[in-house]
Subunit: 341 residues, 2 copies
DNA sequence: GGCATTTTCCAAACCGCTTTGACAAACCGA
DNA sequence: TCGGTTTGTCAAAGCGGTTTGGAAAATGCC
């Protein structure tokens, strides 16, 4: 059923029907109602592609989600982020176009989406330290919002990020206040912007007490349970064992806990653990009492906000980019305690 | 840059350029090369929407992923499934259209995608016991593949599923062979097809030894760490404690393990645990030696296969649906041992 | 009632591509 | 050299909507 057929059915012109459905004022309210009612009754829905072509807007937002080359791992936060963004898109009548590409191959995916005009805007995931994608997208002129940020000229693009630096500084301070001095940092891979900021916050807090970070107690790796376990195990078997861990995700913390248990150590008593908690729906950090002491920020809320910002930007190209940095909550759970020696 | 401009640039007609790029034989090889080279040099890429409209194919596949109403939870397996499917789509030049909708509201989403012609095919996620979506889609005539299956007339649609029944029967048998008699089942929510099959496999194995399942040792709930922890805790505090757990996912098993630790119980010695392992990239079940004894099947591979089957179906509407049921591996890990009393 | 407005609807152009059918050029054998 | 095939290219007609510029009908005003 296309517009022509449908309008003939109603004895109206395609123009009028299109306007009635589109909510334009040039059509009598009574006619509009008649058209609307008939549309749902006959199951008529304007063809998305044709409408896109005519209006020049594709009513879709592109997400390019990277998978790491070696392990083909896809960051589990995407599920929640996308759920959040999807809520907003659905409400605004936008579709979400997903492209899963191997790490490093993202540029091509972005360029393709831009050139082929299949989307009206883009969300950039997992920004690197100095991410080439941002410059690329600025050139295309396509609206985009970065989840996180990168070092490249921060004034020129929109982003929604959490204050990773402050979060890890505060978390480290908390551990220092508890008397911990040998604190291990299990971080995301080097090169990711968030990992760099977290490390800097960590080092800053240490420096505040006149401590220097120990290379043996710092690891940058993929944020899997397995890698975290391996790294924690290695550190716990060193001569200079850590008394506390600062861990970049809840998934990783599970690996850390496993390493502790393997050695008969009890979390929160023998060894303290602080994590960053993305508040994933299927992996909540306890209920009232958090399992892990954590810096906390909902990645789903970030997804929602990124989508909102992007849509606002598409609707009315604002001259100033929208840049938000969210403060994390710091919640106390059962995984931390005073140092014991 | 559109086709008209681009072809003028080359001194050719739009037709020829389109054909050259499309790989049609009616154009001289030399011309084709010239066109191809110019296309990449000038960054010309046919507009996706216009091409779609002209061909009638939208070159996109729709995924409708449900989030549970109450907890807005999105199943973490989607990330991996989608990564798998995305690989295949990318290779075949298809886009992936994602729609995240609250549980139960999926029908509308499907109908919309179908009516508006925004996709050439659909993947159905998380089929219920007797899922209305399947009948709906059959009526629309849009090709679709179900990840999993439902009870409704299994002969009429394509699916890729694992043998949940056999998997859980075998897992239960394994525990029974180890001497366990009080085996708890922590399953997905009632109403999901896979949960029903798993329960039936479990009950069948018990029946094989003349045992009847104890209602107190069976739970159906959302597959979160938290729910699993709560249910395991409740069971462990009963007078008739389970000596073993059969658990529907690795995430849930983490909750179970936490419940065990809370009580000073050691997994694999005091209490045995068998899980179903979807082989998620960020949550591997150990390396050489699995942490958990498990029935195992890669959900990423399932994503790949679903995509392949769907694309095959789109290319050449076959008269017979493609239906695959994969056997799970049964791997032995450190989480099981003979019953101790 | 007659004219100016406003309201309601329509015909036709256009969005950017694919594809059919036609045509010119090159090639072939006789 | 000439008719008959290929081969390489093109003009034009869709695909299914939206939107501009009018025309017809309805309304308002004096």
């Amino acid at each position: 059923m296309n517009l022509k057929q449908f309008s003939q059915l109603l004895g109206l012109s395609p123009t009028t029907v299109s306007r009635a459905l589109g909510g334009y004022p040039e059509v009598k309210e009574e006619t509009r109602l008649r058209v609307r009612e008939a549309a749902i009754r006959h199951g008529y829905r304007p063809n998305r592609r044709a409408a896109s072509l005519a209006t020049g807007r594709s009513m879709a937002i592109g997400h390019v989600i990277p998978t790491t080359l070696n392990h083909e791992m896809v960051n589990p936060i995407f599920a929640d982020f996308i759920a959040g963004a999807g809520e907003i898109y659905a409400r605004a009548g936008y579709d979400m176009l997903l492209s899963v590409v191997p790490d490093g191959d993202e540029e091509r995916a972005y360029r393709q989406m831009a050139d082929a005009g299949s989307v009206d805007g883009l969300i950039v995931h997992g920004p690197r330290d100095a991410d080439p994608r941002i410059g690329l997208l600025q050139k295309t002129g396509l609206p985009f919002v970065v989840h996180g940020r990168a070092r490249v000229d921060e004034t020129d693009y929109s982003y929604v990020d959490i204050d990773n630096y402050r979060a890890f500084q505060r978390a480290t301070d908390l551990l220092l206040d508890l008397g911990h001095r040998r604190i291990a940092l299990l971080n995301g891979v080097d090169g990711m912007d968030f990992a760099r900021r977290r490390r800097m916050g960590f080092e800053k807090a240490l420096a505040g007490r006149g401590l220097t970070p120990l290379p043996d107690l710092m690891a940058s790796a993929e944020m899997t349970e397995h890698m975290a376990h391996a790294n924690a195990a290695r550190m716990l078997d060193q001569s200079v064992k850590p008394t506390a861990f600062l861990v970049s995700s809840l998934i990783m913390a599970i690996g850390v806990r496993r390493a502790l248990e393997d050695r008969g150590l009890r979390m929160g008593r023998d060894v303290s653990v602080v994590i960053h908690d993305d508040m994933l729906s299927y992996l909540m950090n306890g209920e009232e009492v958090p399992i892990f002491t954590a810096t906390r920020s909902s990645v789903r809320a970030a997804g929602r906000r990124c989508a909102e910002v992007l849509l606002a930007q598409i609707r009315s190209k604002p001259d100033a980019p929208i840049q938000e940095v969210w403060e994390c909550e710091l919640v106390l759970g059962g995984s931390t305690g005073p140092v014991t020696t």
